[in-house]
Amino acid sequence: MEVLRTAMAGTLESSDAQVTVEPGEGKVELDIESSVINQFGRKIKATVEETLERLGVDNVKVKVVDKGALDCTLKARVEGAVFRASGYSEDEICEGKKLPWGGAIR
């Protein structure tokens, strides 16, 4: 998928993560902040990278501000931001664009 514009998903509440994506410069650039970085930094990074890979996103700048989100939430927030940025806004979904549940979203 191609990130066409800047989009964000998630909040800064405890147990959530706020993910912002914007078009990249030919590669994946990650910027991760987390309240549990010392304990889960690698896991958070791996989850974000795997999610991007499944979505086929290889040209993006991603900023994650994590407040202790579980993996399932991290994935949801990355997907939320990426789909919003690449032609799957809720309006477009309501008009009939179908999301790849169980495929790229796993």
Partner: protein
Amino acid sequence: MTNPNLTRLRRSMMFLNAQKPGLIKDPYIYKPDSIMLDLEDAVAENQKDAARYSLYHALKEIDYRGVERVVRINGLETAHWKEDVRVCVAGRCDSIRISKCESAKDVHVVEEEMRKAEEEFGVEHGSILIMAALESTKGVLNALEICEASPLLFGIALSGGDYTKDLQTVISGTGVEFAWARGQMINAARCAGKQCFDTVFTNLDDMEGFRRETEMIKAMGFDGKSIVNPRQISVCHEVFTPTEKQIIQAEKIVKEVDEKKAQGIGVFTVDGKMIDIAFYPGAKRTIELAKAAGVYEGDL
């Protein structure tokens, strides 16, 4: 095989905003019978998409430890609900709650959409159940046809906020505005062999009021209540816990009927009195309620 969830115990059905990670990560701690992950009213209009991703991964990755996972989808009048159905099926929730259901047709429309999604995602038809929220005068009037609309529909629930608006009244605290709807709905549900659930009680500080209302709807025959906060669960369960006397009586009935049936005898007596076979389902339910409350120590 019939889905065992059709008749499972549902004393407490707790609403949770599917978009709030802090809420959905471990609500099973509070031991509700069901959680209702909400895509509808609790989710802001601009977060409908985000809620689905959150819901999908919660369904797939969080072990809810046996608590039923109902998803409340957006109303059929909106453009959101079809994708809601897809995510519910793809995520294999246990049940879908139809908002603002007004007729058997509404149930059929959702079931049809479920069928399509089930085919797309390879999910067995019948593994995901349906419940209908009645939120309008029309919906309540059509309670029986809704109950009979599908074998996958396990029950109906009153949604009091919208219903009182439709009636042009307000929630008074006395229950008078719901008297007819509750009577109509429990009657329809029992007539069709379905479950029936009461509306939410929103004043969290009035636990006595909550208890009184729960006692009343239990006495009316309701199976359970919609819950808005974990604080209400223990009181709700307490109300639905049978007394020792009721448990002993129920146990005798169940044992007597099972025993005599096995022997091919059609006359049942408990404590020397003839009893009617019609007592049997109620007695079974009493035992189930006692088990769920952790107060049953017998061998049934």
